[in-house]
């Protein structure tokens, strides 16, 4: 329950839980989840006596429930799960359920610091969001694709503003979808809305919309761009300028548009997953210069390396580092950093993690069923049964390794320089 600056960054290893084996009173336990600071490990457990609970560092919650699912640690280290009692669902935070109950709850979300916990709710066939136990006042005929502002004060949801009779083509194409922010839907409705996204301050929302079956564009706070496109992907706000950048398809090829103006000429067979540095100066995206050949383009310039697939693109805060993964049909994974391929081919690799100052990159990888880390391209000298994503210390000098190995949950803090 503390920000990363206050975590234990003393170099060394600590055993958080000696055994993640099933305790005697449990019929089974599910897969362990480790807290962001690595100090706690939680599992959902089916009790021999009936019902479910969670064990956090081996200690059961005070409460048990009829059902428990979606175990997630909040960024501040609280353990949450969605729980059911007497047929009604809610969210339990460290074992304490919200007072409000709903017909269904899913999609737990957190603010950046973790102080706000929110989830999608369905109550009496109506849909909305509930944050810290406070449900929206207005609910909707349907709701999906929730997103939360960084401070957790606002939530947005794609909502259906009117119910549809079965197979009513006219009503659907007239547009019954919109985006609701804190229960208030935009005035405008669309044929479809997808991937709402807040700006850094949480003041504006942009979403992809389809105004007819054929015209795709971006709506910001309900107002659409003047241009429409053959197709598009998720918008992102430039953190520095507040402008909205989205991949668009025009004349049969993909590029990037910003506030309705093309900023990357549409020359790619595909372009998506754009990321923008904090200063707003560098934009990178996964692109396909030719069919079936993917790479990363930084400021519209594609890297020379090509792979059948490229995923998990990340950019450093300052934009000085760009990293992604390449693979061939979900095998032969490689780590790509700044246009170069790190040595080594892996059965699987996970989203690269760039240190806060951009100096270092760490990536979790797996080979022959054993997981390990690559730090700046060097393999970490130890392998584990399972790893969580690595975390850099706020000053970027230390690396937190959260691992499960030989039945124990361990927490290792390593010097990046020596890792």
């Amino acid at each position: 329950m503390q920000p990363p600056t206050l975590w234990d960054w003393e170099t060394g290893q600590k055993v958080v839980l000696a055994s993640i084996e099933r305790p005697e009173n449990c019929a089974w336990v599910e897969e362990p989840t480790v807290s962001p600071d690595g100090e706690r490990v939680a599992v959902l457990a089916s009790l021999e006596a009936g019902g479910f609970t969670a064990l956090v560092n081996g200690e059961p919650w005070e409460n048990s429930f009829d059902k428990v699912w979606q175990p997630r640690f909040s960024p501040d280290g609280r353990f949450t799960a969605i729980v059911q009692r007497d047929g009604m669902w809610t969210v339990a935070v460290d074992g304490q359920p919200w007072e409000e109950n709903f017909d269904y709850v899913w999609n737990t979300q957190f603010s950046a610091r973790g102080d706000v916990v929110a989830a999608c709710i369905q109550s009496g066939g109506e849909y909305g969001v509930c944050a810290d136990g406070q449900p929206w006042e207005n609910l909707f005929a349907n709701g999906s694709q929730p997103t939360l502002t960084a401070d957790g004060k606002s939530a947005a949801l794609v909502v259906q503003t009117a119910s549809l009779k079965p197979a009513d083509l006219d009503a659907f194409q007239a547009g019954v979808f919109s985006v609701a922010v804190n229960g208030q839907a935009w005035d405008a409705t669309f044929v479809n809305c997808w991937t709402p996204e807040f700006d850094a301050q949480g003041a504006h929302v942009a979403a992809q919309v389809r105004t007819t079956l054929y015209d795709y564009t971006i709506a910001v706070d309900g107002r659409i761009w003047s241009e429409s496109y053959d197709c598009m992907w998720e918008p992102r706000f430039n953190p520095a300028t507040g402008k909205v950048v989205a991949p668009v398809r025009a004349k049969g090829a993909w590029g990037l548009a910003q506030d309705g103006q093309i900023i990357w000429e549409p020359v790619f067979a595909q372009c998506w997953h754009q990321v923008i540095s904090q200063d707003g100066r560098n934009i990178a995206a996964i692109v396909a210069p030719a069919f079936g050949e993917f790479t990363v383009a930084v400021n519209a310039k594609p890297w020379s390396i090509r792979f059948p697939e490229v995923t998990d693109l990340v950019i450093g805060r300052g934009g000085e580092r760009v990293a992604a993964l390449g693979n061939k049909e979900n095998a032969e994974w490689r780590v790509l950093v700044d246009g170069r391929t790190w040595p080594g081919v892996w059965d699987m690799a996970w989203r690269p993690v760039i240190g806060p100052d951009g100096a270092h990159v760490a990536v979790k990888v797996e080979k022959n069923g054993r997981q390990s880390l690559l730090v700046d391209g060097r393999p970490y000298p130890r392998e584990f049964d399972r790893l969580c994503d690595p975390v850099f210390s706020p000053d970027g000098a230390k690396l937190l390794i959260r691992a499960i190995d030989k039945g124990a949950c361990v927490r290792i803090v390593a010097d990046v320089a020596q890792a």
């Binding site: 259906q160 197979a167 997808w194």
Partner: protein, 257 residues
């Protein structure tokens, strides 16, 4: 005999055709031809020798032995053939028949490929016809409704986000009576098998999910199912000709995996 002799009433086709003019049809046909139709369509339309061998490969033709207008080559002639010959300038009434044929008398099974010495892909040609139909807004009502569902829920049966998870948990519960300790693991990272279904399973045939879970449980394999939309591996937009939505669905499905 031909498609115009067997028109049926469909709300979707009628609605779409009522808004067409020959000029509009021509414009859209020309734009699709210019932007999307390539060498494959050209080669197919040119080299078909009209030998008629494909007739024996098509269940529509086999079930109408007395009506030669159901053979694959005849169906191409009545749809894409007409559009190519006229440059797309056909009257809306004719287009009704073209759309009806493309959607209801060829289900793109590509069985005729096994009968064509040259390797002409009638299914592909029909998809191009459907693409033009979609662009003109002339699609049968129920398939269009599934396309609408896909665009909204990423599954074809309007299964809402919560209904999906609820259904899985219900089936998990049911199955536990028979197989204590059975699980349908949701979003389990690193699982070996990602099990995806089509929307009619949660909607109408939930026992199929139960049965799959029972098999996975008995086999002791490491599997998972997604809790998020994208779990439906079907794609009716591909069948309506809405290739933009098709791409969106495919991406969602793969990224969910």
């Amino acid at each position: 005999m031909g498609i115009q002799d067997r028109l049926i009433e469909d709300v979707g086709l009628r609605r779409g055709v009522s808004r067409l003019t020959p000029e509009k049809i021509e414009t859209v046909v020309r734009s699709v031809m210019a932007s999307e139709a390539g060498a494959r369509l050209k080669a197919y339309s040119e080299t078909c020798m009209r030998c008629g061998m494909c007739a024996k490969g098509c269940h529509f033709a086999l079930s109408h032995p007395d009506d030669p207008s159901y053979t694959p080559a005849a169906k191409v002639a009545q749809t894409m053939g007409v559009l190519l010959k006229t440059g797309g300038r056909v009257d809306p009434g004719t287009f009704y028949g073209i759309a009806q044929l493309a959607y209801t008398e060829c289900n793109l099974c590509k069985r005729c490929v096994h009968y064509c010495p040259i390797g002409i892909d009638t299914g592909f040609i029909m998809s191009m016809v459907r693409r033009i139909c979609h662009k003109l807004g002339v699609t049968p009502q129920y398939i269009q409704d599934t396309a609408h569902s896909h665009s909204t829920t990423f599954n074809q049966m309007w299964v809402k986000d919560d209904e999906w998870i609820d259904t899985l948990q219900w089936q998990e519960d049911e199955a536990r009576d028979e197989f204590p300790g059975l699980r349908i693991p949701l979003d389990k990272e690193g699982a070996e098998i990602y099990y995806s279904v089509i929307a009619p399973e949660p909607k109408f045939r939930t026992q199929l999910i139960y049965q799959a879970a029972a098999i996975f449980n008995a086999a002791g394999v490491d599997w998972t199912m997604p809790s998020q939309p994208g779990w439906d591996n079907s794609d009716m937009c591909m069948f309506t000709g809405d290739f933009e939505m098709m791409g969106r669905l495919k991406r969602r499905h793969f990224e969910s995996a």
